[in-house]
Symmetry: C2
Subunit: 157 residues, 2 copies
Amino acid sequence: MPRRDHMGPPWWHGRFRGHGYRITVAREAILDVLSQTEEHLSAEDVYLTVHKSYPNVGLTTVYRTLELLVHIGLVFKFDFGDGRARYELSEGPKGTRHHHHLVCTNCGRVIDYTDFIDDEIELLGRAEKGLSDKFNFRITNHLIQFYGLCDRCQKKT
Amino acid sequence: MPRRDHMGPPWWHGRFRGHGYRITVAREAILDVLSQTEEHLSAEDVYLTVHKSYPNVGLTTVYRTLELLVHIGLVFKFDFGDGRARYELSEGPKGTRHHHHLVCTNCGRVIDYTDFIDDEIELLGRAEKGLSDKFNFRITNHLIQFYGLCDRCQKKT
DNA sequence: ATGATAATGGAAACCATTTTCAATAGCAAT
DNA sequence: ATTGCTATTGAAAATGGTTTCCATTATCAT
């Protein structure tokens, strides 16, 4: 049940058209699920949620759509080390805040944080410029992740 | 053919014993392969190389040993997005230089860089402290990766 | 040398993701 | 609305890196 807030076509339609992609029910539903959550959903998570409203949307389509969304930069794909990829909207109408992840290597818990992001962004900006100059590499994206033990897992030791 | 440079037991024996792990031919061979290369080897890569000198070491053991090495912090495990994990010695007798990766999202090429590392390390230090204070998270490791198009792949467009 | 048990390897299992392919649906042009 | 071209889809099968099983072997403290 995609919602439009009574405001005409969703904000991402233009982005789709620009790439020559068609707008389909499955794609609307998947994008809707992603924009509705704060979690780091796996392909199967997305599939299960979409499946409630659209039982005829298959897992294959979810994988294909997520890949497409990553490709056009609407979605970030993460690997938290548990053997399945996780997906997150990279931006939204409300302008999802840029954040990074803290991954517990024991229980797999993932904490989003936005602290220090400003410093990081500044550093990344400098590094990106330097690296693209030196290696003639056109940087489009970056990943920062911290690993360690969350509070709960420290106690268990 | 593990080499000792005529200097008594390899530097990592202590690390093994400290964790209660036994020292075996397979483990020596695997560690040797890792310390002999500058590349980002996959488990299979390691297996194939080890296999030349020790045909009786199985792929399963390679996976198990690599996991063990990651666990005790001797090896870093990376995901460059090509569906197979890559392994790198985290430190060595010579003190392998800390570096990060530049991953080409088109051809998969990976470039190591050490530039800006000092800035990054400084930032990471601050971030780690702040994050462990705020979330009571004991940070043991971090990952920074840049993605983009390498020079060769930019031309193709 | 001995024994307790950690480590091993080959085969089978696992499981997230991808591929195949015939059927369907989006959309520009009519 | 209708048509035609072709992108998209879903179900099932295939893929392929990684893990698990389990009987055998090797390590190392005693």
